[in-house]
């Protein structure tokens, strides 16, 4: 997209003449994205009281405090598990879904519209709806299990039982991530020229062969984009965990994102929280750099 129609016969303008046009955008980005990032890094190197008062340079003291926290290791491992399993499941489920809604069948429009609902609806609200559906006695989930005769005796408390709560969170995250992912893959599917597929069919390729040998390789790009954007979104995912378990009981369902928030705004333990914030930020930065690199090729072609 962007700027493929630039007229080369015009001489390159200087950045000064561009400023009246792009200046406000740069200003807004500096104010809302760059400033908080610099502030976060600065605070992470400063001694800070629980009330938020700054008490001078602290070197890596906040980082030291953070790494002395006995819960950090478990939370870090859980974060990796969380991100990888949500993204993996999302992509695996979205692939056949995109294939499905790319075909024409009666009710196709309904399916596409239905898939937009979890995408458009607020993630907190969707999470709260799931909280109700997973409720101990009256929730849809346990009700169905009872009626099907799968669940006998005591109903399961999906959100409080430590054996299940983390899987429930993963499930809700997958549920809200599927629509976006499916639509990205669908866009990729639709960009595959029909004549290639027809040519393969004329040559006697089965539909599985067409998929495996032609569509899948051509989808690589959309899959990669969908995966990277999901990696970032899922890593940042705060509302699902906050609405369903608050990371609890204890730190049992925290990721580094909710843990950093909890330390800062619930426990008023600002120092180590800013250190973790910087590490989280650095991790996202790394994925963004990979994303920019991966997409550079397609952008240059544009």
């Amino acid at each position: 997209m962007g700027g493929n129609n630039v007229k080369k016969r015009r001489p390159a303008n200087s950045i000064i003449s561009a400023l009246p046009w792009i200046g406000p955008a740069i200003l807004l980005i500096l104010l809302v994205v760059v400033w908080p990032a610099i502030e976060l890094i600065r605070i992470s190197l400063t001694k800070i009281s629980s009330a938020g008062a700054l008490e001078g340079f602290n070197g890596l003291g906040n980082y030291k405090l953070l790494f002395e926290n006995p819960d950090l290791k478990t939370i870090a491992i859980r974060t990796v598990t969380w991100v990888l399993s949500v993204v993996f499941l999302t992509v695996i489920i979205s692939l056949p879904l995109a294939q499905l809604i790319n075909q024409s069948f009666p009710g196709r429009k309904f399916v596409r519209w239905a898939m937009i609902v979890p995408w458009a609806a607020s993630v907190v609200m969707t999470s709260i709806i799931w909280k109700w559906m997973l409720e101990l006695t009256s929730g849809e989930f346990n009700l169905t299990l009872r009626q099907l005769g799968i669940q006998k005796g005591q109903p399961v408390d999906w959100l409080r039982d430590p054996r299940y709560s983390f899987f429930v969170l993963i499930w809700v995250a997958v549920f809200v991530s599927i629509p976006f992912t499916t639509f990205v893959i669908l866009a990729g599917l639709q960009s595959i020229p029909h004549d290639i597929i027809e040519a393969a069919q004329v040559d006697g390729a089965s539909s599985w062969q067409v998929y495996r040998r032609i569509k899948f390789p051509l989808l690589r790009n959309s899959l990669l984009i969908a995966t990277i954007i999901n990696l970032i979104n899922v890593f940042n995912s705060f509302p699902i965990i906050w609405a369903l378990t608050r990371g609890g009981p204890g730190y049992n369902t925290d990721t580094t994102t909710t843990f950093a928030y909890k330390m800062a705004f619930v426990e008023y333990n600002m120092g180590p929280s800013t250190a973790l914030g910087v590490i989280n930020f650095g991790f996202i930065m790394l994925i963004v750099l990979i994303y920019l690199r991966v997409t550079k090729a397609t952008r240059d072609q544009a």
Binding site: M1, G2, K7, A12, S14, I15, A18, W21, I22, A25, I26, L28, I29, L31, V32, P36, A37, E39, L40, I43, G52, V111, A114, M115, I116, V117, A120, A121, S122, V123, V124, T126, I128, I129, W130, W132, T137, S138, L143, F175, V184, A187, S222, I225, I229, N236, P239, T257, A260, Y261, A264, G277, N280, I284, V288, Y291, L292, T295, T298, A302
Partner: protein, 259 residues
């Protein structure tokens, strides 16, 4: 079946929103309300300050959307039409901001808002939301602007239009679908934003709906029926808006990557 799977939770929400409170935990539990309590949708306005929540959400979302438009239209137009030093650096900056969510920077945002004395105010929410949604609009709109032939515009300028008039009278009407998409996307994203609102807004009277609804939860007796009438009121309009821009959503979100 697949379609039903994705809307089932929301159907469950609608059905629960129509149950009388006594039926919520009744045994045996039924899926459909035994007595359909359409009054819930009237009574909820008195039971919780949802008129306040909605007002906050509308004001913040409309202002953030306007701010995004004012800032992104000139930038997208200029980038689509001109080659200048720093152009790709600017595009890269925009693309990078699209990838960041305020969640990772929340402590920095909180301190900045405090520095400006804007804690617990709507302007703070407006500016932060506009900043994080700017990228989508710039990328999407520059694609639309680039697809309008320069010749049309030049013809208008020969006929005596200034560049600004040409933009306003010729280009903007042609790129209307892009503008509508940018407007709806920013509006919905701001409407649904949770983390910044949770952190910056403390007084109940100024909460937008996304954080306001959490005040229903966590008490001993959750008024699920009112909670869900509220979420239904908040979700249905944005779903309709999103469906209306379905065609353009993916293009804007994966801008610069998927063609």
């Amino acid at each position: 079946m697949v379609g039903l799977f994705f809307i089932y939770p929301y159907i469950n929400m609608l059905l629960t929103s129509l149950k009388p409170h006594g039926e919520l935990y009744a045994t045996p539990t039924t899926r459909l309300p035994k007595s359909w309590q359409f009054d819930n949708y009237l009574n909820v306005w008195a039971a919780a300050p949802i008129a306040n929540f909605l007002k906050a959400s509308v004001v913040v979302s409309v202002c953030a959307t306007l701010l995004v438009l004012i800032v992104s239209v000139p930038a997208a137009y200029y980038v689509a039409r001109n080659r200048f030093k720093g152009r790709s650096a600017f595009l890269l900056l925009v693309l990078a901001t699209q990838m960041f969510s305020p969640t990772a920077l929340i402590i920095g945002i909180f301190r900045e808002v405090k520095f400006f004395g804007l804690l617990d105010t709507w302007p703070a929410l407006i500016v932060v939301n506009a900043g994080f949604n700017l990228a989508f609009a710039v990328w999407l709109l520059s694609g639309f602007f680039a697809s309008v032939p320069v010749e049309i515009e030049e013809a208008a300028m020969v006929d005596g239009c200034t560049r600004f008039q040409a933009l306003r009278r010729i280009v903007l009407p042609v790129t209307l679908p892009g503008l509508v998409t940018a407007v709806i996307f920013t509006f919905v994203a701001t409407w649904n934003e949770f983390t910044v609102a949770l952190t910056v807004i403390s007084s109940p009277a100024r909460q937008p709906i996304s954080t306001g609804i959490t005040t229903f939860v966590g008490q001993y007796d959750v008024a699920w029926e009112y909670l869900f009438t509220t979420t239904a009121i908040a979700i249905v309009p944005v779903v309709i808006l999103f469906i209306s821009i379905e065609k353009y959503l993916v293009g804007g979100l994966t801008a610069g990557s998927v063609k």
